[in-house]
Every structure is written in structure tokens, then in C-alpha cells.
Symmetry: C2
Subunit: 215 residues, 2 copies
């Protein structure tokens, strides 16, 4: 297997889609697929699929194709889904609640263990069986439970202080829904950003430029 550090971001970015798609095949009882069939169903070329998967060791066999469950398990391992990470959610508004509902992948990968919000109105409310706790409880909770990651669903102006506090508590991984640029201030941590506004602007760009194409 190639050193995963040198695999391009675009290949890595396609792995979740492969993983999802293989799951769909497995649910349909399909246990074996050629790169050509997989390509057709995913809207890619067979050669792109072979190249992508070869980066991770070339799981296909000439004349046989890919073993769907085996390939999927290998991808799960590469994606780190063979481990379980514990998570705290900071910010229990609509976005936080929606995200909490999307925290598990096949019931593996991530486990939400604590929910925190600065709003005292939320005190006592439970989400997915967990009580919303005040932000002031965060240091104590982290000291006791050492969560692997934090999900940030707070406004941008609240985010820097929360991140500082979480890093002080030993959290090194962030799923960031705020617009705060964590990496700029803390290059040493892992961050995955979900910027809804940026995504909406990309759609706006696509609409505008498609429209500009028309005579």
C-alpha cells in the first residue's frame, strides 16, 4: 500500500462515496462487482475506480472484480470506521439537534456522549437520551470523559473561546459547523468544516454560470 500521506485529497474525498455505494450494493445482496459495473452505477469511469482503489492496495482481482463486503470493510478501516470515537456536541439549537441525528455511520465511528449549550432555557432537555448541560460543566466533563472530538454548532463569535477551552481540555478533533477558521489559529488540530453558507454560494455560482451559458 502506498503511504496514505501522499494520496491526493481528491481520491480521499471520493472514499466516503465508495463506502456508501458499496453499502447500497450489500443491502441489495450484491457481493461481487466489476470495476466497469461499479463505474456505470457511480457515474465514474472504470479506470478512475481502479486508479482510486489501487492507491490503497488494489483490492480487485482480474476476471473476478471486487468482493463487495471485503472491499467495504477495507474502506471502513482506511476511513477509521473500525474505531469508535467519542464526541461532545457544543450548541443544541436546530443545527446541533439535526447534526446529533447524523452522528452515526452504520452505528459505528462516532458516539455522542455529551451535549452542551450556553442557553439556560435548554437546561434539562434531553436529545437522543442525553441531557443538555450548561457550558460551565464542559471542563469537568472533559476531564472525566476525555472525548475524542467536538462538534461545533455555535455562532462564529462564540467559537474561538469554545475551541480554546476544548483544546485546553485535550480535544484535538473538530467537526466545525461555525464559520470560525480553527486551523488558522490552531494548525495542530484536525478539523473538518461544514460551511453551509459557502455551499449555498457555490450553488448560487452554478446557477448564475449555467444561466450565463444560455443564449
Amino acid at each position: 500500500m502506498k503511504d496514505t500521506n501522499v494520496i491526493s485529497r481528491s481520491v480521499i474525498g471520493r472514499l466516503p462515496r465508495y463506502y456508501r455505494f458499496l453499502g447500497e450494493l450489500q443491502q441489495k445482496g450484491i457481493s461481487r462487482i466489476s470495476s466497469g459495473e461499479l463505474a456505470g452505477k457511480m457515474g465514474l469511469t472504470a479506470s478512475q475506480i481502479r486508479q482510486d482503489l489501487n492507491c490503497f492496495g488494489g483490492f480487485g482481482q482480474q476476471g473476478y472484480g471486487y468482493n463487495v463486503p471485503a472491499l467495504r470493510e477495507q474502506l471502513a478501516g482506511i476511513l477509521g470506521l473500525d474505531q469508535t470515537y467519542t464526541a461532545v456536541l457544543i450548541g443544541a439549537g436546530n443545527l446541533g439537534r439535526a447534526v446529533a441525528g447524523h452522528m452515526s455511520i452504520d452505528d459505528r465511528g462516532f458516539r455522542l456522549i455529551g451535549i452542551f449549550d450556553v442557553d439556560p432555557l435548554y437546561k434539562g432537555i434531553k436529545i437522543r437520551g442525553l441531557p443538555i448541560q450548561p457550558d460551565s460543566m464542559l471542563p469537568e466533563f472533559c476531564a472525566a470523559s476525555a472525548p475524542d472530538m467536538a462538534v461545533l454548532c455555535v455562532p462564529e463569535d462564540a467559537a474561538p473561546a469554545v475551541v480554546e477551552q476544548l483544546i485546553g481540555c485535550g480535544v484535538r478533533n473538530f467537526w466545525n459547523f461555525s464559520h470560525y477558521d480553527i486551523k488558522r489559529d490552531h494548525p495542530e488540530v484536525n478539523v473538518e468544516n461544514v460551511h453551509l453558507n459557502d455551499s449555498l454560494m457555490m450553488l448560487s455560482y452554478k446557477i448564475k454560470n449555467r444561466q450565463d451559458d444560455t443564449p
Copy 2:
């Protein structure tokens, strides 16, 4: 200005971040900035910034730098934020409600005009002043109001039929939070995907590979 069709996806993907960042500068009363300063604040190199912005016409002036409000307005135009698009939201669960709260960029760009959900329990509830309507009302609504885009916050298995229906009603632009691969079945429409599970898997990948780096 170069033909925007040939500008790389990665340059286009950075434009929302420039737009956001220039907005922050403007809020702080900063009206002029050099590419070097902008680079330092954004964690990029000055040459990358110049290259990126040159793709769209080179707005900077030697020895002066960039005029912040003017550059921001030009980016708004490129991103299509100088137009207003009307949108319907399909799926009014937590995710739909959260997304509805993120539909405006500086109060421009997108305007939510209708919310639909298949669940009769939601009937009569209002979100952002709009009543949640049953899915059966969608064709009539689209015929009368001709929304420019749809926001899909429905489960994957419900998505194909909804998309089919919306396309039948003339909708050509989708902000897609379901895992349904719209482009595969309808390559002619504009789609911007937000796949929360994929993003979570990318974080998992980063955690795993960062951990693998440590001895």
C-alpha cells in the same frame, strides 16, 4: 476576464471564503488591504491570492492593494449573489429547520418561499413565518410560484420521487442534503450536495491517519 468555464474548481471553491473574509474586514472598517496582509490573515500565500483573483480579472492595484468593498461586490457578482433566487424547502425536520435558518447570505441570494413535508403532524406549524404544507400541495405551489431552487432535507429513499416531481414542475437547481445522487439520474440540473456522513467520514480519516503518524 477569463472564461469562467475554464477556471478550476479549486479556485471557485475558495471564492466563498474570500467573500466571507472580506465581509469581516468590512465590518471592522478596513477598506483597503494588500495581498500580503490578506494572505497572512487567511493562511494563504500572497501569490496564491493574486493568482486566484486574477482568474476573475485582477482587481488589485500595484502599490495600493485591494479595495475591500469593491472587491467584495465584484465577488458577489461572480457568485451570483447580485440576484435573488426563490427556494422551496422539502423536509421540515430538525435538519430542514436548521437549514432554513441558514438560507440567507447577508439577506441576499436566496429567499425561502415555501416549506413542505409529508408528515401530517407538521400541518399548521410555521417556520420563519411560513406554514409547513403537505407534499401534495407542491405541484400547485410550483405552478403558481415557480421557485428557482429546492432544498432537499428528506431521507434518501424519499428523494428520487421528490426530485422527479420538482423537475417536472420546472425546478432546475437543488441544494441536496439527502444522499441521493441527483446528478447520476439528472445530469442536466445544478446540484450542490451537503453530505454530512461523508464529512464525518473525512474527519474519521483525518483522526486515524494523524494517529497513525504518531509513534
